[in-house]
């Protein structure tokens, strides 16, 4: 699927102060029965967010909310940037996790580290995962929670910088290929198919070397 080109924006930060947030927590398994790519937002973090048991097809607007969960804090209601701790997205390869985060409205995720498969899945959906040093993440948590107003960050993907509400500019580092794809909103299957000749040449060579893979 082609993704939309990533545009620079200013967004509010939601601080989720937990390490090792796994994809079962991001979107529990009962919602994986859907055969669509959309509609997962209301069930993002379902078990932490609501006090009852979530089932597919429910109207989530009437469900009892967990007042202690940060997503339900009105201060962060308009957040589009998720700030969290290390190894975010560990566990299952379910792409429903980035689908749910994007469907909810997040555009950027900031953490000291992300799990590999989740990171890849996020990029494929135009969701930008940004890895920052632990110390900078600590500082952002402090800024995000110290004031009554949410912290806002300017994300400039063209120039690879973040500006945290006048608290200074932070440089971001991202794989150049991912950068290219996000900025231009590329369909990477289409991109790969432009190399169809290379693939065919590889297959012809490989069929000779390892005929048992083509039998």
């Amino acid at each position: 699927m082609p993704i939309k080109p990533f545009e620079n924006f200013r967004g509010a930060v939601l601080p989720l102060d937990r390490a090792n947030v796994d994809t079962d927590a991001i979107i529990p398994k009962q919602f994986l029965k859907s055969i669509k790519r959309t509609g997962f937002g209301p069930n993002l973090f379902d078990e932490w967010r609501y006090l009852d048991r979530g089932e597919p097809g429910q109207d989530c607007s009437n469900r009892p909310l967990n007042p202690d969960f940060v997503l339900n804090d009105p201060k962060y209601a308009d957040a589009t940037i998720l700030l969290t701790r290390h190894n975010f997205g560990c566990g299952s390869s379910r792409e429903h996790a980035p689908w749910a985060l994007a469907d909810y409205g997040f555009k950027v995720l900031i953490a000291p580290s992300f799990a590999d498969i989740f990171h890849q899945n996020a990029i494929k959906n135009g969701l930008l995962p940004i890895v920052l040093d632990e110390a900078i993440v600590d500082r952002l948590f402090q800024l995000a929670t110290d004031s009554d107003e949410p912290l806002t960050i300017d994300v400039d993907l063209q120039n690879l910088t973040l500006d945290a509400d006048g608290h200074g500019t932070i440089e971001i580092d991202i794989d150049p290929f991912h950068h290219h794809c996000l900025i231009h909103g590329l369909d990477d299957i289409g991109l790969t198919l432009t190399h169809a000749d290379d693939i065919a040449a590889y297959e012809a060579r490989r069929q000779n070397e390892a005929p048992w893979l083509f039998a």
Binding site: M1, D17, R18, A19, N20, D22, D24, A25, P28, K29, Q30, L32, K33, S34, I35, K36, R37, E47, R53, G54, P56, G57, R85, H86, N87, C90, G91, S92, S93, R94, E95, P98, S113, A115, D116, I117, Q120, N121, K124, N125, D175, P176, F177, D188, I189, L191, T192, L193, H195, D198, I199, Y202, E203, R206, E209, A210, P211, W212, L213, A215
Partner: protein
């Protein structure tokens, strides 16, 4: 002299179609396993773009996550699950992909049937929309989980865009003690390096204790590479690997097999090959493991006690420990062996193979599940595992002891079907993840080996299987 290469280097080099100016490679994928949960949107993507699978014969599909483990003849009663399984069947028909449907005796968990059918082969690249695809690394195959977009990418192009990972060698040196299994090895490794320890790496497992494992044991170790943060785990190819593959229905036959085997024998890391990181673990020091928390790295030997977050210096880690203990309903200092259990689950792609069922049956033979256990269930990894177990009489050992003997599938590893924990219930499970809610909302999971799970069912609490005299 050529530079010594690791096994990962060799498989990688064999599969690179091209590399661009950013250092991203187009990697050729030899085989893909497909299941009902992560594929519908990929097939829909193909349809919307008017694309076809490049090599339909290189994919094998099976429903496993949603299938019921009882009353199979009634079909799937949950309508949403049924739609997903029917979508898989319709997509396979439309795109010409081989499917083992629910009525096929070869149906089972993707990661059990791949090796069983000889669909998994040494030296190949293999993916599946499932993180436990790392299992197939036991065959010296580069196998890793992908998301749905990449499932579609492989269907359409037979390739993936990849950047080469770093390499890590985990060497398990020496001999395992009695009653200590592959599951204990991998849990001990995760306890040592952490759930992010392998992030960005492909792990190769080596050392005497790994070489000594059966293929089933090697699959258990590679299976949980993802719980150590690594997308893939690998084990070098030896005669055990080749003997396991020989004669399997989808493996090459005759002359072609011998030609393949000759190539496979070259697929081991060269002496002097360099890794980005090397970890040594002393096999003799590994004791039967039990997880106490909500991450697989929260693991201790069975004779340990629940840790105290107050003794943890790192505030983020201490916070994780406090969350975990609150969720698990545990108090610091409680000996693991005193934790009472409600349910026991033996199965999954980690421990649902014949050797696992034999180990559990050995402990259960002639004994009874404790009265305090509400449900102890054994779910074979595939129809063929079930058939083999029944031929050996293992089903009777289990049922006479009070275990339920079920139909194959993922079952209570992730509780997408009807098999799940109720809030607050505590389970000894041979699966791979003890995350919050994994086995059912509010359910509490302790990961253990099959023998430890069977012993826990008999006693109603954890016991050291080495003292069982089995």
């Amino acid at each position: 002299m050529p530079t010594p290469r690791t096994l990962y280097d060799k498989i990688w080099d064999d599969h690179v179609v091209r590399t661009d100016e950013h250092g991203t490679s187009l990697l050729y994928i030899d085989r893909q396993l497909v299941h009902e949960v992560t594929s519908p949107q990929a097939f829909e993507g193909l349809r919307l773009a008017g694309r076809k699978p490049r090599r339909p014969e290189t994919h094998l599909a099976v429903p496993d996550h949603n299938v019921p483990t009882t009353d199979r003849h009634l079909g799937i009663t949950d309508p949403i699950s049924r739609i997903q399984v029917e979508a898989l069947e319709a997509n396979c028909r439309e795109f010409g992909i081989q499917l083992f449907d629910m009525a096929d005796k070869r149906q089972g968990i993707v990661h059990v049937i791949g090796p069983e059918e000889g669909f998994t082969l040494p030296g190949i690249t293999m993916v599946c929309g499932d993180s436990h695809t790392s299992t197939h690394g036991a065959f010296g195959a580069l196998a890793f989980g992908v998301g749905t977009s990449e499932v579609e990418h492989v269907l359409a192009t037979q390739c993936l865009l990849q950047r080469k990972s770093k390499s890590m060698l985990v060497s398990v040196d020496g001999e395992l003690g009695r009653g200590v299994t592959a599951k204990d090895i991998v849990l001990a490794i995760i306890g040592e390096i952490g759930t992010a320890g392998g992030t960005g790496h492909v792990i190769e497992y080596g050392g005497d204790a790994i070489r000594a494992l059966s293929m089933e044991g090697r699959m258990t170790v590679c299976n949980m590479s993802i719980e150590a943060g690594a997308r893939a785990g690998l084990i070098g190819i030896d005669e055990k690997t080749i003997d396991y593959v020989r004669g399997r229905p989808m493996a090459p036959q005759g002359e072609l097999f011998e030609q393949a085997a000759e190539h496979w024998r070259s697929l081991n890391s060269d002496p002097g090959a360099e890794y980005d990181r090397v970890v040594h673990i002393d096999a003799a020091s590994i004791r039967p493991q039990v997880t106490w928390g909500t991450s697989p790295e929260m693991v201790l030997p069975v004779d340990g006690s629940v840790p105290d977050p107050a003794e943890i210096a790192d505030p983020v880690k201490a916070g994780s420990y406090r969350h975990a203990l609150a969720y698990m309903g545990l108090t610091p200092g409680t000996p693991l062996a005193e934790i009472p259990l409600d349910k026991v689950f033996i199965g999954s792609c980690t421990n649902g193979r014949i050797e696992d069922l034999r180990a559990a049956a050995e402990v259960a033979r002639g004994r009874k599940v404790a009265d305090s256990i509400k449900l102890a269930m054994v779910v074979p990894g595939s129809g063929l595992v079930k058939e083999q177990a029944e031929a050996e009489g293992l089903d009777r050992i289990f049922t006479e002891a009070g275990f339920e003997w079920r139909e194959p599938g993922c079952s209570m590893c992730l509780a997408m079907n009807a098999d799940r924990l109720e809030p607050g219930e505590r389970c000894a499970s041979t699966s791979n993840r003890n995350f919050e809610g994994r086995q059912g909302q509010g359910g509490r999971t302790h990961l253990v080996s099959p023998a430890m799970a069977a012993a826990a069912a008999i006693h109603g609490r954890f016991v050291d299987v080495r003292e069982e005299g089995a």
